[in-house]
Amino acid sequence: MADHRLKPITQLGGDTPRKDSFPGLTISERTDTALASLSARQGKPAQFQATAKAFFGFDLPGAGRVATGGVYTAIWTGQDQWFIEAPFASHEDIAPILKKGFGDTASITEQTDGWGGFDLQGQGCITTLEILCNLDLGKMAADSASRTVIEHLGCILICRETGQHYTVYGGRSSAASLHHALVTAARSAL
């Protein structure tokens, strides 16, 4: 076997996940999550739903919602489309794992390194995020998600706990710009 001297780096290019602290807010780089997109194929909706329920152990969430069970979290991203999160350590090859479960009822694409995620935790979340995007954050319930624009970047914003814990996924190639936007907003808001 070839001796690859490769060194894994985070989306911001560091050896370890970056963490920025502000009064009432922590922004941390999310590096422990494997991501895949799951899209139902046309013509077999009942079979797809049954497979999903059997595979995940929960029903896939409806418009704007997030569902969690076991190691998997499903995030609604569009009609008949979801993002699936799982722990990177155990599900680095998340796409083949899902494909095995869904067969030809769904189309699956690995997304892990296409996105860079940041977790925002603390009571300063809403004051920071409301500077950045035009979602109605106060009305965003726990376990809901939406695509939105942050600093001209298309992002997915997930509310884990209202007012306390949010995750932002943006394109990995512009992760540094997204991080800069988050940090600048936090500095000015808090």
Binding site: A63, T77, G78, Q79, R147, T148, G154
Partner: protein, 95 residues
């Protein structure tokens, strides 16, 4: 301008991209008799009503759905928002 998305609720129109007349849904059958004339009409002829107008909007910074928005071109009032796929299916399209 706010577009009341049928799935996601009121969203700012800056999240959307405007395509144009919703008659683009009615793509003619290329094998039909008179397909050349039908495609000429489909590609180049547009109504320009002063009043209610059905148009296609794409929710690019949202759930990536295509919508058929009924908008009054005189007042910009939006009276109806539907998912384009529902509209297409109601007109007998399979996809």
């Amino acid at each position: 301008m706010i577009i009341n998305h049928p799935l996601l609720g009121p969203r700012d129109s800056q999240e959307f991209v405007y395509l144009g007349d919703a008659s683009l849904i009615d793509r003619p059958d290329w094998q039909a008799e008179g397909a050349v004339d039908a495609f000429y009409e489909y590609l180049y002829q547009r109504e320009n009503p002063a009043g209610l107008h059905q148009e296609l909007w794409f929710h690019e910074q949202g759930d990536r759905s295509w919508l058929v928005v009924t908008r009054n071109t005189l007042t910009h009032e939006i009276t109806k928002v539907e998912l384009a796929r529902d509209v297409a299916r109601s007109r007998g399209r399979s996809k």
